[in-house]
């Protein structure tokens, strides 16, 4: 079964399409049950800290085809593939509010992002510390998304343009 077929089979059961009304949609976004809860539950860590509006803006930035930017040194500012292991976990960086947030997920086809969980940057901690929240969060994200596509070798690209078709700076991943 193709990736779209598998997503369709999960839709409104394990995956929820993010398609805000009155928005021209240019990229696909699905939320897992965990991400949906993190987005909508008033008691989720990110919502308690008042990050909902900023996160919503970041999600709309993705689906509406907003610029996937890198800085002058080629470092990704909005969408970034995290260092393995596990492989192919991506983050949307919500960097302007304080505290910052990170939205973790995977790109399963070009322009198709599945987000699985939202965390504050504080929770994730120091990236170089093996006991930080990063490892646990990335592993949980990896397991959750792999469980949606059992036995499937999920998409891996060699350059950012294989993951994002349009309006994307050319940066190393």
């Amino acid at each position: 079964m193709s990736i779209p077929d598998q997503i369709i089979a999960h839709e409104d059961k394990a995956l929820w399409r993010f398609e805000p009304p009155r928005t021209v949609i240019k990229r696909r976004l699905y939320l897992t049950a965990t991400a949906r809860k993190h987005l909508t539950d008033p008691n989720s860590a990110t919502n308690v800290l008042g990050l909902r509006g900023y996160i919503q803006s970041a999600l709309i930035h993705w689906v509406s085809g907003g610029l996937i930017r890198a800085d002058e040194k080629g470092r990704p500012r909005f969408l970034k593939r995290l260092d393995a292991p596990p492989p192919e976990i991506w983050e949307i960086r919500v960097t302007d509010p304080s505290p910052q947030a990170r939205l973790l997920g995977r790109i399963v086809e070009q322009d198709t992002l599945i987000l699985d969980r939202f965390h504050t940057r504080q929770f994730l901690g120091d990236r170089d510390n093996p006991n930080s929240g990063w490892k646990e969060a990335m592993s949980a994200c990896d397991e959750a998304i792999n469980a949606l596509f059992p036995g499937e070798v999920l998409f891996q690209g060699a350059s950012i343009n294989q993951y994002v078709k349009d309006n994307c700076h050319d940066f190393a991943i």
């Binding site: 929820w16 696909r28 909902r52 509006g53 919503q56 800085d71 960097t95």
Partner: protein
Amino acid sequence: MTSQSEMHNNDNGLYDLKGKDLENFGFARVRDIAYDAVQDLWQRRKAEGWTQIQVAKNLDRDTGWLSKHLKGSGNWTFRTFGTLVQGLHGTIEIVVRAEEDTNPNCNYNPYSSYVMDVQPVVLSGAVAEIDIFGTSQRAPLKISSTTASLKEPSQ
């Protein structure tokens, strides 16, 4: 008839924002859009051979200030936005539309290959036992996704 888009937008909690969340969302969106627009122009100017040093000099700013604001819009004000646009020899047009005037219908729908393929379903050979006005009848049953029809059994 409910469209695919409406069906998927019935999930209220995903899109409803109120109070401070709505305010933060509005602020983040406008800042994002402004930043994207400035980045577009900066990329074009870079391709034309402009450097940050030249732009900073034209604005009588140091390159650190320019570099910081081109890197992210976190500390932008309207003044920063206007200064950057002028420094890059740009012009600004701002359009604010009523929500109801926004037309999300465009030729490209990225979800078009992500919808259930609705094919008519025909059950051949099925027989339904139907009680019509107290008289039990047996009839072959043909079902499609949108219609169901009954035919008289052949004698």
